[in-house]
Amino acid sequence: MDKIRASLLKKSIASKIERRGKIISLTCLALIILVVFLIFYFVASRGLATFFQNHINFWQFLSGTQWNPGTNGTNGQPAVGALPMIVGSFLITIFSALVATPFAIGTAVFMTEISPRRGAQILRPVTELLVGIPSVVYGFIGLQVVVPFVRNTFGGSGYGILSGTFVLFVMILPTVTSMSADALNAVPRYYREASLALGATRWQTIYKVVLRAAIPGMLTAIVFGMARAFGEALAVQMVIGNATLLPHSLVSPASTLTSILTMGIGNTVMGSLQNNALWSLAMILLLMSLVFNMVIRYIGRKGKLNNER
């Protein structure tokens, strides 16, 4: 009797193991959260120093067009105008998403609706292969192939937003494609069956039913691609020309936040204005990726409501 009583009151081995497992996974989680928090803290503390220690006007930083933190600009203040980089980053992101989206959706439709067998056998592995190619390879191909092509076709030196767009287009295409394909696959089978049963052709079904139902998922895919394009540094840096000038055409040299960051960080001294200004650029990048993340979550939530209705 006592034995049974004791075994009932004591914690079983299974529950002990479960508690240990919980502790381990919680510790891992806490560690990751701590790291994320520390990164935010570090970037913010350095990035904000530009405004609080070096007394740079925040609006001037966002709207100024001269970037040369070592020297004074025309207004006598240190020249830390990040507008050229911000504009460059956004233009290149938006353009590459615009170019990539039709191709990605077309491929995804082919993979899921038109020829699922061939899609699974050939196209999926190919897109996955594209994801695995290191960005420096893309940059190198961009430098050797895309830049001369742009120079000979559109004029200019070949370095600029257009070349960057072409390179990024290929880089984000697999991401957007495979996520769009997932979104299309997630459309319930009975949507298609109902549409076909009503007498719609395959094209009508794809266009009017499947694509419409998958819009939230595809938007998420596009924003994901944009987030990747926004954060890409190396490949873009090799083809964009890295001139801190406001781009006045698609073939004039420009720069992005990431390209100026990677180029400048080794040449500045921790704690100096030049270094702090670069951290401010990093802070903008971090904030932007936060915004992209929030947009993705927002679209996801919206999409769910629509489906339930």
């Binding site: 001269q66 180029m263 040449n267 500045t268 921790m270 270094n275």
Partner: protein
């Protein structure tokens, strides 16, 4: 249950042993047998090669060499994180660095030459023309006797040692106009080689037949001209240490400055030996002749 316990225990012991081993290794190597040099990528090949040679001659001593840029080198040595900070520029020229706390060792000289695309049709520029091109006053090669081609400026990254040297001694301290920037000499050269009308500047060791090295005022960019300062665009390569470096650091720097290294390794890698220089330049740019 028992078996997994044993495995767990073994794993723990293994981790413990590894950590202990790693810790003891760290303790011995950090004590005096290894030094770390960080900084300038232009100087990195020399320090790496000299470090390898030094380790092979002195068993058990390791010289870790890392890149990162002159700014990184100077800030790391200032904060005391490394033994040697490699730099292309004088510590006095770098904002945020207190040069009085550092000790300068000039181990080599690097000459820098303007390079242009081969199809430009120009081989010589006066220093005024060079300045006008880089400050954006001349924008077509026709104006300096070349073909009717727009000039494409390709600068090195802001704060790069090569760019600082070029602006100080080729542009007389004027800032170059905003233009394309590249963060490595190799990339700058290959872009000049493939872009019509492009002009940039690289260290002598990067000169090859894919680009034209310009003469300035009729002076050719050669080692001999640098040694007598007829070619003005050159800079020292510095190894910065703290005011009181430890024994090994001192020995290693003396080794790099020794005739054996200066006569062979420095020349093989395309640098100019400090022993061959007939002039000396101070941080402020004052030239004195060496007797």
């Amino acid at each position: 249950m028992k078996k997994s316990r044993v495995i767990q225990l073994l794993g723990l012991v293994l981790i413990g042993v590894l950590v202990g081993l790693g810790y003891s290794q760290r303790a011995t190597t950090d004590a005096s047998e290894s030094i770390t040099a960080v900084g300038s990528t232009a100087l990195q090949p020399l320090v790496e090669a000299a470090g390898e040679q030094y380790s092979s001659e002195h068993t058990g001593i390791f010289i870790n060499v890392q890149g990162g840029g002159s700014g990184t080198g100077l800030s790391q040595i200032q904060s005391g994180a490394v033994a040697i900070g490699n730099s292309d520029v004088f510590a006095e020229e770098q904002p945020g660095i207190d040069a009085s706390k550092l000790k300068d060792h000039q181990v080599a000289v690097v000459g820098i030459a303007p390079i242009i695309n081969k199809k430009t049709g120009v081989t010589n520029l006066t220093s005024e023309q060079l300045r006008a091109i880089f400050t954006g006053k001349i924008t077509n090669w026709q104006a300096v006797g070349g073909k009717n081609l727009p000039i494409v400026l390709i600068n090195r990254a802001q704060g790069s040692g090569t760019r600082k040297t070029f602006e100080s001694y080729a542009l007389n301290g004027q800032k170059s106009a905003d233009s394309q920037e590249q963060d490595s000499s190799g990339l700058a050269r290959s872009i000049v080689a493939s872009t019509p009308g492009a002009i940039s500047y690289v260290a002598f060791s990067y000169l090859d037949t894919s680009v034209t090295a310009l003469q300035v005022n009729g002076v050719k960019p050669t080692k001999t001209n640098v040694e007598i300062n007829r070619w003005h665009i050159w800079s020292y390569e510095h190894l910065y240490t703290s005011q009181q470096p430890d024994q090994l650091t001192k020995k290693f720097i003396n080794y790099i400055l020794s005739t054996a290294v200066q006569k062979k390794l420095v020349k093989q890698l395309g640098y100019i030996s400090v022993h061959d220089m007939h002039v000396q330049r101070s941080a402020t740019g004052k030239i004195t002749t060496v007797k």
